[in-house]
Symmetry: C2
Subunit: 434 residues, 2 copies
């Protein structure tokens, strides 16, 4: 490449877009040293030309029309930071059609339409990078693609949603209930007014789909992520977990055994000595298990203006280097494994189960017998009478059991007269990858 | 590149070499899918042709002569796993001279002669990769070079020596003394018969020099790493640290402030809530502070056959991809910053200090006054009489103070009659990067 200057079009100038402009300004000497090319923001799509902004950018750069960027032959690279599926997807496809490289932080789009977008990029010889779409500033996608290229990854556990991790951390530290902490998080700006995508696990599911694609080299359908939100987690569950040596986190779990894959998001009891148990507040982390490398963890800020922007801008450096080296569009490894989903019999883990029962002789025996009939044996159990001794709580953690067996026992328990209520149940992750 | 096969020469078939051969065998389908090239071990330098080995390799591959590999025009890539400086350095330079790409896990060589080797590689258009030289299976060098390419890293703290971390973890968990745990570690094979390089911090120093070069984009002289070993750490220091909320770890600390750099290795008290405080046993971790990204951590196995081998083999995949793309030797960013060392006045941290003093009135006042005269103020202090009340221990943690001030006060304290002994002192790292 002869160019001494690369022109970038920014679609969107919200938090992350502002951060990108700021980093390009702050670190321009370093970027020039590394790429030998001046990276220049040539145009910025905004929705309001008059809006006061926290950075100074030449007013001439702003446009209200995406076409001004996508159709500008001088623009080499488009950075998409609008979010959402439409019209964003079309913008990206159009930009690729015109030979522009694309960087995006859009997890929804990459989880749902990543394959189509990457195929178009390959066809056009263009780069598409999206490090910022998962776990903000943590360079986890690069690690999966390059760092572990020679290994075979069989499990990834992610704390990939900062909002829910903040809420669960606060609940755990203060013994507070979900609703109270959510309200506080909303006031602090850590949770959206409508927190559904975060607390119901949808945001984490998209990130786990992206991690699964890159880690397992498959084309995983987002609809196959088994998602359970964390809005029903109670202070009592957290307290019982603590008693048994566990911490509740909203975990994304992607696992591949004998060629079959499960991907899920759910509130999970994780052993307090597991490194993920100490990932607190808005921090994110991805724990990776590889056949050769063993266990590794990548920890850092999952959101925020500059952390996310640094992921975008590092992608930008890569795209510029690829242009210089003449290898644009050539770094992608297409998925080469078929996605075979695990059956519910094949999905195995330990489980936590908390029951309200009549405090009468024989109840415990009946429950453990029923569990045993589904091949579910018990690792730890606490029985605790309520104050009036009419009812008791039984809290137990099973040994490894199949999801199918657990689903069946949960149904069957509701038919037992002495079982007044299934208070809660959680997947349990231990220290060992077993 | 037209080639359908790439030939690799292995210099050394110890633990890591065996692991590389094993991974190439186990994951050959994946490697072929990713590179479209068959990676074949063509020759292996060994010191004993008859030795029984834990893997099956064709006996024809073995040679006793490095020249058989370095001078073989059919060999494209040399993987150096002998270790040490000579004759290894010459082997690598000779291989580069003949246009071969080089992968090495040799931290000593890269810390001491990395610049010379990388310059030769650039001259010859060859790749040199050395991910396995720091923190075994953790892809930290890639993260510094690529993942944070757009950021400005100002601090890295590493637990980069598994042996000493194992010893300190055991001492901390069991209240045991250094000598006892070292002996146990030696019996388990976690420590060498001669543990000097590990326990005196030299091994960690080499890794910190490599991290500094890549993180700060400098050419840092290994001799400028300020090294203090951990063989004087006592169970009592660990217990006092715990009381004050700290854990003792052998930390490598590389810091760059206003263009000036300090790099050190020393036993350090780190706040128990800092993520590094929970990195236990033989695990390694590198904590990276970037201007934009904030705080991130990379955690994983620092040694071992397969973890280290996976780093080597992932480098191999990169080298093969670069050959295919025709960009060999073009990925290195040469150091572009001058190394300016901090003066002892500029090196600042908190300190832990433990003194044995006469248990008489006015001693505490005298010590705090002396500290204040060097602008050292106190954050936490414990005074504890010995059983006979003739002597007392004073344990304190300072606010931020300069290394120069601390060195001076340590000398001055020995001149005070009431100070019987300076039992110990440690650098202290808090939760915030301040």
């Amino acid at each position: 490449m002869e160019k001494k200057q690369v022109k970038v079009g920014l679609l969107g100038l919200g938090t992350v877009g502002t951060g990108v402009a700021r980093i390009l300004e702050m670190h321009q000497d370093d970027l020039l040293k590394q790429t030998s090319v001046e990276i220049k923001i040539a145009k910025v799509l905004v929705s309001d030309l008059q809006k006061k902004r926290s950075i100074e950018l030449d007013a001439d750069l702003f446009t209200l029309s995406a076409a001004d960027i996508i159709e500008d032959p001088e623009i080499d690279i488009v950075i998409e930071l609008i979010g959402g599926i439409e019209p964003t997807k079309q913008y990206i496809l159009d930009a690729l059609d015109r030979g522009k490289h694309v960087i995006t932080a859009n997890k929804d789009l990459m989880a749902l339409h990543g394959t189509e977008i990457l195929a178009k990029a390959a066809e056009k010889g263009c780069d598409v990078y999206y490090e910022a779409s998962v776990a903000g500033g943590i360079p986890i996608l690069r690690a999966l693609v390059d760092g572990f290229s020679s290994d075979r990854i069989h499990k990834m556990i992610g704390i990939v949603n900062g909002t829910t991790n903040y809420i669960l951390t606060k609940m755990s530290q203060e013994g507070a209930q979900y609703e109270d902490v959510l309200k506080e998080a909303q006031e602090l700006g850590y949770a959206e007014a409508d927190p559904t995508a975060d607390v119901e696990g949808f945001d984490a599911a998209r990130k786990m789909a992206i991690l699964s694609n890159l880690g397992f080299k498959v084309d995983f359908d987002l609809n196959h992520v088994d998602v359970r939100g964390m809005s029903n987690v109670t202070a009592e569950d957290i307290a019982y977990g603590k008693k048994l040596g566990y911490v509740i986190k909203l975990l994304g779990i992607a696992q591949r055994d004998e060629g079959c894959i499960e991907v899920s998001v759910q509130p999970t009891m994780i052993h307090r000595k597991h490194p993920l148990a100490s990932v607190n507040g808005v921090f994110n982390a991805v724990y990776v298990y590889g056949a050769a490398v063993g266990e590794t963890m990548f920890y850092g800020p999952g959101a925020g203006e500059l952390p996310t922007a640094t992921a975008v801008t590092s992608d930008l450096v890569t795209v510029v280097k690829n242009m210089k080296l003449g290898i644009s569009g050539k770094s992608v490894v297409a998925p080469y494994r078929e996605t075979i989903l695990k059956t519910p019999e094949q999905i195995e883990s330990k489980f936590f189960l908390r029951l309200l029962v009549s405090d009468q002789p024989g109840v415990l025996a009946e429950i453990t017998t029923r569990l045993a009939s589904y091949d579910i044996s018990i690792e730890q159990i606490i029985q605790q009478p309520n104050r009036d001794h009419a009812e008791a709580e039984i809290i137990l953690i099973t040994h490894m059991a199949s999801k199918k067996g657990m689903d069946q026992i949960l149904t069957e328990l509701t038919t037992i007269e002495a079982v007044k209520e299934i208070k809660s149940y959680y997947r349990v992750e231990g220290l060992e990858d077993k």
